[in-house]
């Protein structure tokens, strides 16, 4: 397996948000600011990499019919680790991401990679796959979060760019998430075609 290709696929070619259209819930839910997007992206990447590694290690011990529940338990364990670590060391990020942290366990991306890749490949490839998809996810979240933050609150990473009087509040609200994502996907599709 060409590990370089394995590593770079997550950014554009197999970007989980723009191409595979997975993991929509956190994508729309936590991208009201770039830093939230980044935090969620990195947390998910951690779970992806660790779960992929463990699942790849134990794949031959798991009978086929209990594969999905077993994967889910392993993923849930790592999500809880992230929850506890964040609560202890990054309390303000923990508060902003709120409900979406435990929801990483039902992020279709994580279970999807476990099923499609980690259960069929060796440990190193699985780890790199997790890293690639996770970073691609983070990239998408920061992009979406950044656009929404700039248009909706005049700031980026909490640095004020222009006066609050000119913001279009809709972008940090629910409709804005859908609309910006729609246009982003259309835009990325165009890039991929050319």
């Amino acid at each position: 397996m060409n590990q370089w290709k394995n590593f770079t696929k997550g950014f554009i070619k197999e970007n989980p948000v723009f191409v595979l259209v997975l993991g929509m819930c956190p994508t729309l839910g936590v991208t009201s600011s770039a830093i939230n997007g980044l935090g969620m992206g990195l947390a998910t990447t951690f779970v992806l990499v660790m779960a992929n590694i463990v699942i790849s290690m134990v794949k031959s011990f798991i009978p086929e019919k209990v594969r999905i529940p077993s994967f889910i338990v392993i993923i849930a364990a790592f999500v809880t680790v992230v929850q506890l670590m964040m609560q202890a060391y990054l309390p303000s990020l923990y508060k902003s991401l709120g409900l979406f942290i435990p929801l990483i366990v039902v992020n279709c991306i994580v279970l999807g990679r476990a099923e499609a890749f980690a259960s069929k490949n060796n440990i190193i490839s699985s780890a790199i796959d997790g890293l690639s998809i996770g970073l691609g996810f983070s990239f998408a979240l920061v992009l979406l979060g950044g656009i929404r933050e700039i248009l909706g609150s005049g700031k980026i990473f909490d640095i004020t760019l222009y006066s609050e009087n000119y913001v279009s509040l809709i972008f940090v609200l629910a409709p804005g998430a859908f609309i910006v994502l729609g246009y982003l996907i259309a835009f990325i599709n165009q890039i991929r075609k050319s």
Partner: protein, 201 residues
């Protein structure tokens, strides 16, 4: 390596073992993080109290006072400087927020006026209700500020309801909820004063 057979026994055992290992690992991580989590919580609380009260050098142990109506009691913190009481911090709440619970640390000085507040927790709409974090302490627009005022002398309801405080533009519900929390804190403060006159130190 061939995969194990999907017999009933195999499936149950596998799931059980995985869950056991997962549970055990988590128990371990939990004991590791228990202390830092408690410390982080306490730190955030102390920071909030510092923001809402004038300078102090000693904080009493928190004690609970029953809220007038509503089930949860409020946590009180007495702050002292050079052994003299400088203010009371009250952790209050309201469930009437637009998106539910809003938790606020309110500061009452020794004259019985609100001297500060900090919104601890809320899920209000960004750009609208979320403005409550700064709106009611505005120094430029005194009609919307509650600082230096007391529910005894000023009507702590929004102007729309005949009160004296200007609500956040387009966020009447969040504003009402905010004031509800502050009034709740103040009522408990009064109640505590009544039952403690002479016992404040």
């Amino acid at each position: 390596m061939a995969q194990r057979e999907s017999t009933f026994i195999n499936m149950v055992v596998t799931l059980f073992v995985i869950t056991l290992i997962a549970g055990g690992t988590l128990g371990y991580v939990y004991t590791l993080t228990e202390a830092p989590i408690a410390i982080a919580k306490e730190k955030a609380q102390k920071e909030a109290i510092k923001t809402v009260l004038p300078e102090f050098d000693k904080l009493s142990n928190p004690f609970k006072v029953a809220a007038e109506e509503g089930s949860d009691s409020l946590e009180f913190f007495l702050a002292y400087k050079n052994n003299e009481l400088v203010g009371t911090a009250i952790k209050t709440y309201t469930k009437k927020g637009f998106s539910g619970l809003v938790s606020i640390m309110a500061g009452v000085d020794t004259d019985g006026n609100i001297c500060g507040y900090q919104v601890l927790e809320h899920a209000e709409t960004p750009g609208l209700g979320s403005k409550m974090t700064t709106w009611f302490k505005s120094t430029e627009k005194p009609k919307q500020s509650i600082i230096g005022k007391s529910p005894k002398t000023t009507k702590f309801t929004v102007s729309k309801d005949g009160g004296d405080i200007d609500a956040i533009t387009a966020s009447t519900i969040s504003s009402r909820a905010f004031l509800d929390a502050i009034v709740r804190a103040y009522n408990s403060y009064e109640k505590n004063l009544e039952s403690n006159t002479g016992n404040k130190k």
